[in-house]
């Protein structure tokens, strides 16, 4: 297997406390990594460092054979989207812009890709619905479809099953497993060890002070 990501000695400092210290691991293309740990152990911080949203104060994140625009990141559900007027289709097709360099109009291919991914995730009937009216599970599917439109090769998901019931969560895991089986690397941060663990081929446990990969 080909190496796709290596993190070495990552430390992230907020003010004067370490949110994450000395986290090192490597990942191969096509891995499904579950990141676990108690609250405050730095799971989300690690994911944001990988995504490049925050800059580690020490250590480095290196990608191999993957471009920045091939990384998809899904933040924890926030209140930001509550009053945002947007249809599911507008959101899903916007993912294709990751592949547009200077020209930001959608072409035929983009539209096809959006339709295909809406269908893949079983939300084609919600196409013209407003995002704010969707259930939590449907929202996650729409956001996943957007990443697939970006043709992301690595998905970084922060607690994607928060607020979902067990059945919906399991559906989401199966979708992720399917996406993973297409060769896409998945990193998922979760509290739900029992739910996620059976889908992962690798797990990372973050503790208070150290991190190790199994």
């Amino acid at each position: 297997m080909q190496k796709i990501l290596s993190c070495s000695q990552i430390c992230v400092k907020y003010e004067s406390t370490f949110a994450l210290s000395n986290c090192s691991f490597e990942l191969d293309a096509g891995n499904f990594l579950g990141v676990f740990g108690p609250n405050g152990s730095g799971k989300s911080t690690l994911l944001k460092s990988i995504a490049g949203i925050i800059k580690p104060s020490q250590g480095s994140v290196n990608f191999y054979g993957i471009k920045k625009n091939e990384i998809g990141y899904m933040a924890q559900q926030t209140a930001v989207h509550r009053d945002f007027p947007a249809s599911v289709y507008e959101i899903v097709i916007s993912g294709t812009l990751c592949r547009h360099k200077y020209f930001y109009f959608y072409n035929k291919n983009d539209k096809k890709l959006a339709d295909k991914n809406l269908e893949l995730l079983g939300i084609e009937q919600l196409k013209h619905k407003s995002f704010q009216e969707l259930s939590a599970g449907q929202k996650q599917r729409a956001l996943l479809a957007r990443m697939l439109c970006a043709e992301a090769k690595m998905l970084l998901l922060d607690e994607p099953t928060n607020g979902l019931d067990i059945e919906t969560a399991n559906q989401l895991y199966s979708i992720l497993k399917y996406i993973n089986s297409q060769g896409i690397t998945v990193i998922i941060v979760s509290h739900d060890i029992s739910g996620v663990a059976k889908f992962c081929d690798r797990t990372l446990h973050l503790g208070e002070y150290n991190a190790g990969i199994a």
Partner: protein, 272 residues
Amino acid sequence: MPELLEELFSYSFVNRAIIVGIFVSLCASFLGLPLVLRRYSMIGDGLSHVGFGTLAIAIPLGVSPLKVSIPLVMLAAFLLLRIRESSKMRGDAAIAIISCSSLAIGVIVMSVFSGMNTDIYNYMFGSILAIKQEEVYLCVAISVVIFALFVFFYNKLFFVIFDESYARASGTSIEFYNMLLALLTAVIIVIGMRIMGAMLISSLIIFPALTSMRLLKTFKSVIICSCILSVVCFMLGIVVSFACNFPTGPSIVMANLCAFLIFSLISLTSSS
């Protein structure tokens, strides 16, 4: 009513104000939704005070107000964003300081050079008498440029505003789009300020978007509805201000407020 409209359109200054007003309203309504969704509504307000300050300085110097104000307000917008991103001072605090200071400077300069007079009143609350033919060309040209930029970046703006962290993770420069929005807002504020007044121009930006968001739930529909609303409310405001001899800016704001209340009411009744 027809006689009133006929009389209204027979004045060339009214025609100039209407042309500028329609273009400015359209551009302002495009920018409104991104600004509201990014929680940047107050930036417009802050910049309009800066605009007032720069106008006050331009008049005694005898230079064309637009040519001085546009670059200076753009500079203020640039600085505001920089402060927001880099320092520990909260963005809203920076806006408060800059806007109060420029307002104070503006009023002092004006009272020293021309005394507290109707000029100040007009710049604060707007007047349709103020626009010269040359400014009409400039406003129309600027509006066309803003419209073109907006259309070109429309999809990308949506992408960035909807999910900033995703955009950042996939390598998009958020700072570029923030700056673009702030600079375009600065320009719109300056060219709209003559009609609407420094105190009220930001309403032209945020009202149509907020009103449309009461009822419509997709990005495109909100943008289109804001455009229509902004022009309709502008025209209503002008007619009312002409008929009742009200100041122009406040009349347009009242038209916008009425639209907002009507949309809110419909949204309330349809949800219950």
